[in-house]
Amino acid sequence: MELRIEHIKKKFGKKEVLSDICLETSAGQCVALLGENGCGKSTLLSILAGTLRADSGRILVDGTDILKDHKCRSKVLGYVPQGTPLMAELTALDNLRLWYSFCGRDLSGDLENGVPALLGVTEFLKVPVSKMSGGMRKRLSISCAVAHQPKLLLMDEPSAALDLPCKEAIRDYIVHFTTSGGLVLLATHDTEDLGICGSSVILKGGRLHAMYTS
């Protein structure tokens, strides 16, 4: 799988948040998006995910412009936003049922040896989201985001405010995802996350200033 971001621009009012962003990467990699607060990392991920509209530019996944082909985008892409968009009154199991219903996949199979099992979500299936810790919610959020087995995973600061064991569990999953041929774009402030990333890009003033490959 190949991802090409071409000349993405985004303005909020008069402020240009993203200015001519170009990036190329391929499957099996984890790319870290670095930059200070407000530099546009979340905006770029949101545009990729489809929750924000770019002013101009293209995003090609294996040659298909996903800004125009929404069906392809929803099939190929998984998005873990900064918050945890879950139904707080329902249990982990009910939240998983919701997201699995969209892709038609069997949840019970994944509970045994899929991503929920890998992330340890099966330990708290009957717990309502409102009673979960931050780490539990984040792991559940990731499980919901990958229910349809996407090839490209966008993660916006997934390990923020989490304890070390939880961060380790998420990092282990990212490694597993990329090893299986997936591509991860990871917006992060945590330097420890760089250890699992094959390359990093720095966003500054709405532009990509550097790209490092480890």
Partner: protein, 422 residues
């Protein structure tokens, strides 16, 4: 298909977790509304049935003719006039009016009889409290005019007959025939039913109690929306957007949420009705009726299919209103304030707090188009057993049209909030 059903089912399960809290909150609200209504109606009915307007009478009523007239008014049919006449001095009367223990006093001037004998009609004076006006004072004014006419006409007739008797040398029959003349005058010349045209509010609004009962039910359904804050409010649209990206359109999400909320609303209403029936059954068990039907047997006949259908239509329409109001806001306090203001204004203009007949014609015409008025009329007709298909159909259509409009408005607001360009 599965994805379109899973979301509403999960939303309903989520809302169902709030059912106990909603039921308690709504019962509390019902209790508060019932208490206020009982107090208002109880005071009003008590005043109507038991209290009379107290009017002072100042002047000399001891004379045979004036005294007879006064006595006739007092004893004739006091309940028809709802007045209590209290003889007192002018100073006492003035003080009583000032402190509110008398509504007004009527002063028969000194030398009234003498003046009358001389062909002069001195007016009977009515003195009311400074800030009083309205129906009570107008009644007083009419009564005093009536008294004045009654007394003066009686006296004229009596003096005329005195002259006649003297002319024919029948003075010894005068006293006896004078009384007869007065009675004849009372029954024939002074027809009480022509003095007043009495119309009751109940002619226009139906039984007041029934009116307020139907209004109270609609107020309950309307203010249930305060529970909607925790169920319908969306502080951010992240989940909505993600679901949309996964193939569930915003409109279908809205439909699922609205239907779940309306179903919860119906379950809470059903819960209240069951609680009421259970309470009535327990009451009958603890205090069995001495004769006739108990509370439960008295209430059950009112729970008709017509009433259930009216309440169902009202719930569906007003739930859509709640959905609309919460779709446009993102903060809890904003939502609650907006709802309260809208509900209070709508309830007032629809005649849910005061009978619509109190309002000017323009307001009444405007209210006839409102869904809350249609809901009240439908419930009132169902409760009173006067439900007719021809009258019910326009009301049902009104509720349906408003319900659809509210829902569509809510969807548009959600779409606007969910727009990709933030």
């Amino acid at each position: 298909m599965k994805k379109f059903l899973t979301y509403p089912l999960l939303v309903f399960r989520r809302m169902l977790k709030s059912w106990p809290a909603c039921l308690v909150m709504t019962l509390f609200l019902a209790f508060a509304v019932g208490l206020v209504a009982w107090q208002q109606l109880g005071v009003q009915m008590s005043e109507e049935n038991q209290d009379k307007l107290r009017v002072g009478l100042v002047g000399t009523f001891g004379g045979s003719y004036l005294g007879f007239g006064y006595s006739a008014v007092i004893h004739m049919d006091t309940s028809a006039f709802t007045f209590d006449f209290i003889e007192c001095s002018e100073e006492e009367a003035r003080a009583a009016v000032e402190n509110g223990s008398l509504l007004a006093y009527v002063k028969v001037p000194k030398g009234f009889i003498t003046a009358l004998a001389n062909g002069e009609n001195l007016p009977v004076q009515l003195v009311i409290g400074g800030t009083q006006g309205g129906l009570g004072s107008q009644l007083i004014e009419e009564i005093s005019k009536m008294l004045s006419d009654f007394i003066s006409e009686t006296e004229k007739g009596i003096y005329a007959s005195m002259d006649l008797y003297e002319q024919h040398g029948q003075q010894e029959r005068l006293l006896k025939d004078g009384d007869l003349l007065n009675i004849e005058y009372l029954t024939n010349a002074l027809r009480r039913e022509e003095l007043y045209a009495v119309s009751s509010l109940s002619e226009e609004t139906g039984e007041l109690l029934g009116y307020y009962l139907s209004a109270g039910l609609v107020v309950l359904i309307l203010f249930f929306g305060m529970n909607g804050a925790s169920l319908l409010l969306k502080t951010d649209m992240a989940m909505t957007r993600l679901l949309k990206l996964r193939g569930l359109p915003v409109a279908l999400q809205c439909l699922g949420e609205y239907l779940s909320y309306a179903l919860l609303h119906l379950l809470v209403l059903a819960g209240i009705v069951c609680a009421g029936l259970l309470g009535a059954a327990v009451f009958d068990a603890v205090r069995p009726p001495a004769e006739g039907a108990g509370v439960l047997a008295s209430v059950l006949p009112y729970i008709t299919p017509g009433l259930c259908l009216g309440l169902l239509a009202s719930v569906l329409c007003l739930s859509a209103l709640h959905f609309l109001l919460f779709s446009g806001v993102s903060r809890l306090l904003e939502g609650l304030l907006l709802c309260f203001l809208v509900f209070a204004a709508l309830a007032y203009v629809s005649g849910l707090f005061y009978p619509l007949s109190f309002f000017p014609k323009g307001i009444r015409v405007f209210a006839s188009f409102l869904p809350t008025n249609a809901a009240r009329e439908e419930v009132a007709a169902a409760l009173s057993g006067t439900l007719r298909f021809s009258e019910s159909m326009p009301r049902m259509l009104c509720l349906l049209a408003w319900g659809l409009a509210f829902f569509a408005g809510g969807v548009l607001l959600r779409l606007r909030r969910c727009r990709v360009d933030d």
